[in-house]
Amino acid sequence: MARSDAARSGVSAPAPHALHAAALGRALRAAAMAGFIAFALFVPLIGFNTVQNMRNELVLETRFDLLAVLVAIVAGGAFLNTLFLEPWRLRRIEAARLRAPTRTARAGPKIFAPAAIAFVIVYPALILLMDALTGHSSAVKWIDNFGIQILIYVMLGLGLNIVVGLAGLLDLGYVAFYAVGAYSYALLAKTFGFSFFLLLPLAGILAAFWGILLGFPVLRLRGDYLAIVTLAFGEIIRLVLINWIPVTNGYAGISGIPRPTFFGIPFNANDDGFAATFGLEFSPIYRTIYLYYIILALVLLTAFVTTRLRKLPIGRAWEALREDEIACRSLGINTTNTKLTAFAIGALFGGFAGAFFAARQGFVSPESFTFMESATILAVVVLGGMGSQMGVAVAAVLMVACTEILRDLDFLKQVFGTDFDPTQYRMLVFGFAMVAVMIWKPRGFVVTRDPSILLSKLRNTAPEAPRNVGGEPIEEIRK
């Protein structure tokens, strides 16, 4: 403690200089070590760049300036970490240990959730108002790129959240159900001309059916195996979509998918179109707003259903399963059925999202359903705080909005060069963030969500009691 205090408050502290110097020396050693390792790791991949020359041969370009900058950043980071962050963290742990473990119920989310819902409902109106005031016409972009795009990810995140966040089953192939939903809608709508609202439940049911079909044999497996099998399943579905050309048209995908209509009235410029029927001037904005409210309704439905399910025995069983599978089985819960339900319901919502995606784009191809897409959805769930619906929503907003905003920032292009594209760095940041969240805040950066029921006194009776999701001891009852 004395050492860290001295390190923190610098010269003004009354602590002996010897300690201060020792802390400084330690930090310097850590920095040198980290810098050396970073140098060793970065030399091949950052120090050299492989590029093709005019004769299509691979040649090396050196980037030693970048290498030096990155090594300096790592070394500096290690220095500051050892000197300031580490002592600060230790002090905080110490303080938390001394403080009585009181946690009051949080009032925040109770106000936040209705406010957020109210905001998303009036969001298109706000955008239109903004347009009217500024005179720009960027409403389609704002509602489509931000609104609809974010809500699709929220929808997918909420669906995966049931599987990963509530039931604790790591599904790395969630995008497969998204793909099943999208292709179901695309094929059925094109072939039979069924309407969107008929096909939406159908696509969901088909996806859920695939969820059950896949889940039935594999859900007896341990968690880690399950993750890899779902990954393999996701890849199989994608490969079938690519190779089953007579049905799916392979890489080229399916285009010209019928768009949803407003109770039979299409959104086009014809005389029987939406605009003409209601005596409005034709504009693509009506369709966009309509789609926005469809996906918003789907998201709210998903959130509502999930909230209710959590309170049912099946929801309790999911959470129990996540915390301790063996205990679950000992208490007579049929773990296979419980897992299967979570899997099927998660797949159902994935299927809804897929059908909506196909209807919105009017085009589907296997490119949209890669492992990276699964990873993105998983990142939304993990960063949001597994099990928390509000967290998933906030994480999706941050993810899509940050990428879109970064793309538009011009000064970044001046700093990093004109070919700087933040979307390239998106997955890099996600990967890093997933590791960071697991290490520092396993319950998520955005929101922490405790199990719906916690047992008290577990900590006193069993010092090494199994930890719950947060890695924190379980310590209170909350109804």
Partner: protein, 305 residues
């Protein structure tokens, strides 16, 4: 017949590469019960390190001899990849021991995404191809229309794989490190009580796995002459399939599984269609896990509370 023998040769070559990667999975799973999802991407990074080392040695340093180049890039790649794996274990996995069940796996998935995209960002998304390091082949069965050939590259891969597997086998069965490693595998707490440095042993397990993956990466680069940032995913999943098929936790199982997966893949491509060869490999994974969860050579998994 000719087709069969040719595919046998190709399959064994591919299978050696899978087997080398699979050992990394099976060892890590054996010792800390975790699927090191980033292992496939460690393999990909090792191929890139070998590629860059090759370019440095041939264009900047100007070494002409193929043998010297090959040995040098193999050693460089093994060392670099070992350091990388050590750092990954230190940063991303060690702090998570004792965290909740899915934490290490999610962290590994994050690390895998990070590595693939790191290489994409730093080296670009295009395929990187190099001229063949070694060439030459022998005709084994010379029927004019379909000669069965065995290339020098394939012989090198077999020899290197066999040598390193033998060395690895020696380390695991005959040295104090191997003893410590097997002890940790059986019971980590007990091993710690008997004075084994568990953290160090786990680190070394990751390092050994990564070194073997680097051998696979270098051989992969030499064999195909091309590598891209996304090349970690498929071999990674297939090597994991191999580890599961052979019985996860079993070292000979990983090699046998790797060879089998390599053979299945090449025979499938030769006799059926190349379109679905990955589907075949992935299906084997699911089928094995459902019907033979302990694998061919593994012990049945006993769940302890």
């Amino acid at each position: 017949m000719e087709v069969f023998v040719q595919q046998l040769i190709n399959g064994l070559t591919l299978g050696s590469i899978y087997g080398l990667i699979a050992i990394g999975y099976t060892m890590v799973f054996g010792i800390i019960g975790m699927v090191n999802f980033a292992h496939g991407d460690v393999f990909m990074v090792s191929a890139f390190v070998a590629l860059i080392a090759y370019l440095i040695l041939t264009t900047l340093v100007g070494i002409g001899s193929a043998v010297v180049t090959l040995i040098a890039i193999l050693v460089i790649s093994m060392v670099m990849t070992s350091v990388l794996s050590w750092v990954i274990e230190r940063i991303a996995y060690r702090p998570l021991r004792g965290s909740f069940r899915l934490a290490p796996l999610i962290s590994a998935v994050g690390m895998s995404i990070f590595l693939a995209n790191f290489v994409q960002v730093t080296q670009g998304p295009r395929n990187k191809s190099i001229p063949p390091i070694v060439s030459g082949e022998f005709v084994l069965m010379g029927s004019g229309s379909y000669p069965v050939t065995l290339s020098v590259k394939q012989i090198i891969i077999w020899i290197v794989t066999a040598t390193l597997l033998a060395a690895f086998w020696f380390v695991v069965t005959r040295t104090p490190l191997g003893r410590a490693q097997r002890a940790c595998e059986q019971d980590r707490k007990m091993a710690a009580l008997l004075g084994i440095d568990v953290d160090r042993t786990v680190s070394l397990t990751f390092v050994i796995g990564a070194a073997l993956a680097a051998v696979a990466g270098t051989m992969y680069l030499m064999y195909y002459g091309v590598v891209s940032f996304s090349d970690g995913f498929n071999p990674g999943v297939k090597a994991f399939t191999a580890a599961v098929l052979g019985g996860i936790g079993s070292l000979p199982g990983a090699v046998v599984g790797g060879l089998l997966i390599g053979l299945v893949e090449t025979f499938w491509s030769a006799y059926f269609t190349t379109d679905y060869k990955d589907v075949a490999a992935f299906s084997i994974l699911a089928i094995t896990l459902i019907f033979l969860p302990q694998g061919l050579l593994g012990r049945p998994d006993v769940e302890k509370v």
